[in-house]
Amino acid sequence: MERTEQSRIRNFCIIAHIDHGKSTLADRIIEKTGLLTEREMQAQVLDNMELERERGITIKSQAVRTVYRAKDGEEYILNLIDTPGHVDFNYEVSRSLAACDGAVLVVDAAQGIEAQTLANVYLALDHDLDVFPVINKIDLPSAQPQRVKDEIEDVIGLEAQDAPMISAKNGIGIEEVLEQIVHKIPAPSGDPDAPLSALIFDSLYDSYKGVIVFCRLMDGRVRKGSVIRMMATGAQAEVVETGYFGAGQFIPCEELSAGMVGYLTASIKNVRDTMVGDTVTEADRPCAEPLPGYKEVTSMVYCGVYPADGAKYPDLRDALEKLQLNDASLRYEPETSIALGFGFRCGFLGLLHLEIVQERLEREYNLDLVTTAPSVIYRVHKTDGEMIELTNPSNLPDPTQIEYMEEPVVNAEIMVTKDFVGPIMELCQERRGRYVSMEYMEETRALLRYELPLNEIIYDFFDALKSRSRGYASFDYEVKGYERSEMVKLDILINKEEVDALSFIVHKDGAYERGRKMCEKLKEEIPRHLFEIPIQAAVGGKVIARETVKAMRKDVLAKCYGGDITRKKKLLEKQKEGKKRMRQIGNVEIPQKAFMSVLKLDDK
């Protein structure tokens, strides 16, 4: 293969607030550059996980290489690296950005700048990317492109008057975007003869090839036979194949060199050897130092994940191991629960990440799961001076041994139209938020800053925000640090027995409310037994709320018409199936879904 000159490579990504049209623009670029025939073109080529398509969001980073003949007559190789669009995936976003030289900022012509627009732009600028804006959805009746341009200049400080005016959906203005990519995004400038240094921005596991490492070469070159080393994990391997990304397929090539984006395989079997953010170098000629920015991802939210069928524990372990390969931010370690048996305490970037992992485990690995209420990491300072980081509420030491506790707090930015400022402030107040500031971005929209305890936003804050602003609020946050707080452990007793998997940590002022709601919810979920079942919420042994599941007195199916017994049998089968999905706690059978229903208590 002829060597590609760096001057004709552009490595870029597209950044946007969710729903502003990032994936659609990516599709149009791929289509326009002729990578796919129309028959191959499906909506949202880059989002190729089933789940991503369904949710319309990008979870995994993806990359694709296309060739564009520009108006100057030259052919350019455009490497588009797609980035996840959710606040939970900030680290993955940052690694994808680090693999780029520039970014296309997509802003919705009707909605203007949103919270994630800002967060993503700042992240891109932090990585020294050249960013240029694109105004999308200009064909919407509500589009106000000039206003949005002014807003971009005023709020972000990016030159926006010559921003391409496009409709990605209808293929308007795509050519102009491509031209600006060529002219506004710098070509890479690495030294192909220097020692290899390549940034891992993603990886995925293939059962034949082993780990497929997605990387951006900063310096040097790599080809089949090169012996490489991962600088952070120390793993070493011989390269089996190098190549670049077609749309949805891997195209082998002889060599990758400085400035290029591509993949390599090296029969790496251990998923933990290729961490996103790590630097690949040559074993016998390593680069002087690793690329900056690698960090062990920190989980923000923890919860217990258990197989519904205890016998599937090894399957769950294998599935988690495989998932972790594609998802460097997933953490897990074994734990046991009296109620749920053997399982794992898993760490996630946020609640969306948790939901996605759970759904992938269920769909892709065909597992039935029970998850416990998510918890943040609390710092428990004991009277003996020891500090423990608590990820599982059941492990909270006895209150007499606790000097004080700390909980994580975030700086939250909420962008909202002025009509909803009141309701949103009220929401933040309810969630123990501390008001920091409010500024008007323009006449009708305000940027609210609050400090919020993380445990108040991991459950359903985002849903509440959307419903109280009729969908108009956008939200972003970053962790500020730990603060001392009066936390208590809320225990749930079912038929007088404490159910460890239902315990959780809550601020003492919210304990009663939470306990009451949990009891109500559990009352709905636990089927009647032959006896009455008290459900109690208790703090420090003191019952603060109670509900009762009444005894079953009648469960009779009368009709069985004309000898057609199939429906009757189906009903009994359903009942039996229901029993199978129960967890026995003492002499009470609790449906699996009861453990999860307590996650969503605020159905306002």
Binding site: L530, K550, M552, R553, K554, D555, V556, L557, A558, K559, C560, Y561, G562, G563, D564, I565, T566, K568, K569, L571, L572, E573, Q575, K576, K579
Partner: protein
Amino acid sequence: MINKKRSLSVYIHIPFCVRKCLYCDFLSFPAGEELRERYLRALCGEMVSQSVFYKDSKVRTVFLGGGTPSLLSGEQISRILACLRAHYDLAADAEITMEMNPGTLTRENLSCWRDAGVNRVSLGLQSADNRELSALGRIHTWETFLRSYDLCRRLGFANINVDLMSALPGQGLRSWEKTLRLVTDLEPEHISAYSLMIEEGTPFYERYGDGQKGKDGFLPLPDEETEFAMYRLTREFLESKGYRRYEISNYARPGKECAHNSTYWTRGEYAGFGLGAASMIGNARWVNLRDMDAYMSAPPDRKKTQFHRLTVKEQMEETMFLGLRMIQGVSGAAFREAYGVSVETVYGDALRKHIADGLLEYDGDVRLTDAGIDVSNYVLADFLL
């Protein structure tokens, strides 16, 4: 040759009604005379074509169900039964039940049906309270029922069942008691007493489904306490009047138990003819086509679907969950004879669990206790293997 013949029950489905009741999810709909005639031809064609399979069977019971079979004329019912007689060995003393809807009966038709061999009448009353009847979307009143009942008696029908329903919208314990009293005063031989079920796909489901107590403007369903009280009262009241409960929802004067329904619970063989009718023969089950056009256009011997041969496991399950509906329970000896293994061996866990809770008793035969009957679904689910 006097070989003992196998006993067969025959179910014949008449899918027509004046109009759909609001809670009804049976296969039935209004239809004009022309469709009824065409249907009868298809039905008789089916019966004739299937008769070759039943040459060694004797028909002990026949049940004409619906829908509303009494929408058919005297002549039409006679034709069906004549067809049956011509091609099947119908026992001289066979129980021949026909479902009838109050308000659809004439002296002329009734005598004709009687002469054709119908010897058991099942009248769908549901309630003696006109307000409750109207809330159900029934086409008749209590007074209409009285006239129909009286007519049946006068024409000599000596075996009458009355269908009743409790837990109806707007119904209270008093009115249910009144229904029971008025009906038992008439002294029918048999009473079926069900609780109203809210079935998906019915207008009632819109109003009462998913635990709704009745949308605005509709009579509310009785609360749980009341419903349970009604259920309890049913048995107490009927037993005090000399009716014996022989199946979860069925009560009869001694000797007047419905032989046809017992066939279902004891897994006797039955052949179903007509739209969507179910059959069980030789440990295989099937159901006829449920779509009218499909049923009518299929050749007479091609109307069966969902043919399924029961595994031994399924047979055992059925023996238990159907048989336990009968108050007499399931015979341990018969179980062992049928399957070569004892009922304790197969169902030890379920038996122990429910005997300990006082829901089952076992003395060689297995049967539900009074407490077990109340929560029978809960118990029966454990007899699925």
